[in-house]
Amino acid sequence: MGPLTLGGLIAIATVLVLFSGVSVAAGLLIVASLFLIIFDGFGSLELLPEIFFGKLDNFALLSIPMFIIMGAAISSTRAGADLYEALERWLTRVPGGLVVSNLGACALFAAMSGSSPATCAAIGKMGIPEMRKRGYPDTVASGAIAAGGTLGILIPPSVTMIVYGISTETSIGRLFLAGVIPGLLLVGLFMVWSIYSTWRQGGAETALARVKYTWRQKVEVLPRVLPFIAIILGVLYALYGGVATPSETAAVGALMCIIVAVLIYRLYDVRSLWAVLRDSTRESVMILFIIGAAGVFSYMLSNLFVTQAIAESIGGMEVNRWVLMFAINIFLLVAGFFLPPVAVILMAAPILLPIVTSAGFDPYWFAVILTINMEIGLITPPVGLNLYVINGIAPDISLRTILVGSMPFVVCMVLAIVILSIFPGLVTALPDALMGPAR
């Protein structure tokens, strides 16, 4: 059997096993073990623990649990609500202030937590009821938060970007910077659509309504929000100023966030602190398990010459590079519909990156395109995690309404991919300006 046919068989087996309800990490281990036993015998399993261990034996991976603790500490406080309130009070003069504040709060919270569902939950808990109270349609209120939440994996620090950086051996700091302008572009597109949609549905007054706040009301919310923003700025400065590596920076950020949560949000009791630690551990273990298992899966593909055969056959095809990129986008989109972003990146990025770079695309630009595809997967069925988070915090809005509300935001994301394809400089300009051109 040729390596390409074998690759097709492995793909079918992987899809079947992963859809069977087995955990993603265990599924990857099962498929890898099965094919290794069939083609190399039982003896080939001997190496698996060492490969699994070796994949995790990387100081850069430490940034994942650290950034997760940072996010969990912030999410365990009222910081999301405070951030939302602060923006609402300060942006009240901006047309469509409320939805703009919600999306802005999503972007800022995403920057602090790095998690999409946590962003949805933190901002949506206050934002959705308030938008509905002020007359925004349910579709806009729920769709804006579901889509705003997806920014968590694009705007730095992003766990997804860290995983991409590690699996493709690209600079994590540069990846973080590459996500900034596309993140802002998406926020802008989301805002324009939200205001237009509200206005079109007869809510011109709602969309343009302004609530007046006194200076006292504006200032009183700042002391609760500024420390977190200061930590984020500090983390970004340390990363880009070359002061420390992502893991070191994330560890300090995690400790600072816990300290701020204790001092400002009075998170004194052991039970709450344990909850932060427990949730972070659960989440980190889950992601690190997938990373280790994906390492074993990649080893199997490479050992059976499948990776090399796929790269060679795609490299040998004489197709237009944009047709190739279009096909890759469709593949990523479909994979993102079903699989969590971390799993897709770990399985696909190491195979796709050589193909993409040999076709003349920038690896950092590709990271952003890949991430936006994964963002779409977060708000589309059947897995669309953010849809269920919104359904959980606003149970009286049906899943269908949330889905209908989210679809235009999917179009915004596709539009962003098109814009970034026409103007790739939007991705690369910031990292190039701050860190010098990529080597």
Binding site: G27, P49, L56, M66, L255, L277, S284, F289, I290
Partner: protein, 180 residues
């Protein structure tokens, strides 16, 4: 904290299953403390390197091994919480009886892989211990210490999978999952 009071239904469960539950929770506490230790040691590393301007020898390696050990020991705990992310597309399409059969099959397959990892992980640990392998750094830590996490973690994971096979409805309900 972690040793939360046992739920009413848990009292009626057979002793071995209760022991496995407690072991998994203890593993979770150990994993969480390891991650916390990694945070603190990394902060100490930064203090030593950037404030005291001294070189660091053991910290980078120690926190990496702590993270690996936390991952391995965390496996049974996360399984106990049903917290490993999955895609249950096929089970949703199947009738309840077939769904149960499929769940048992996936648990057994996962158990077989965990058993292989435990067995070969023990071999690796044993080899490192017997031959006194050390890491290729200034610190030169004996490798059997970090390698011991593989058979320990996967072994306990196997136990928890066994418990889930015999009492699939026990333990906490699946939690909301993310893997981004």
């Amino acid at each position: 904290m972690a040793a939360a009071p046992l739920r009413m239904g848990e009292r009626r469960r057979p002793l071995p299953l209760r022991i496995i539950s407690v072991l998994s929770i203890l593993c979770g506490v150990a994993a969480a403390l390891m991650i916390l230790a990694a945070v603190l040691i990394t902060c100490q590393l930064i203090f030593v390197r950037f404030v005291l301007n001294e070189s660091t020898i053991w910290q980078t390696e120690a926190v990496t091994y702590l993270m690996i050990a936390a991952t391995m020991l965390g496996l049974p705990y996360v399984q106990h919480l049903k917290g490993h992310v999955n895609v249950d597309l096929l089970p949703m399409l199947l009738p309840p009886s077939a769904r149960k059969g499929l769940a048992a099959t996936t648990l057994i397959l996962t158990g077989l892989v965990a058993a292989a990892m435990t067995y070969h992980g023990y071999e690796l640990f044993h080899l490192a211990f017997e031959r006194n392998w050390k890491s290729d750094t200034v610190w030169g830590v004996p490798l059997w210490i970090p390698y011991s996490a593989i058979p320990l973690g996967f072994g306990l994971y196997l136990l928890q999978l066994g418990a889930d096979l015999f009492a699939p409805d026990d333990g906490p309900h699946p939690i909301s999952q993310r893997a981004d």
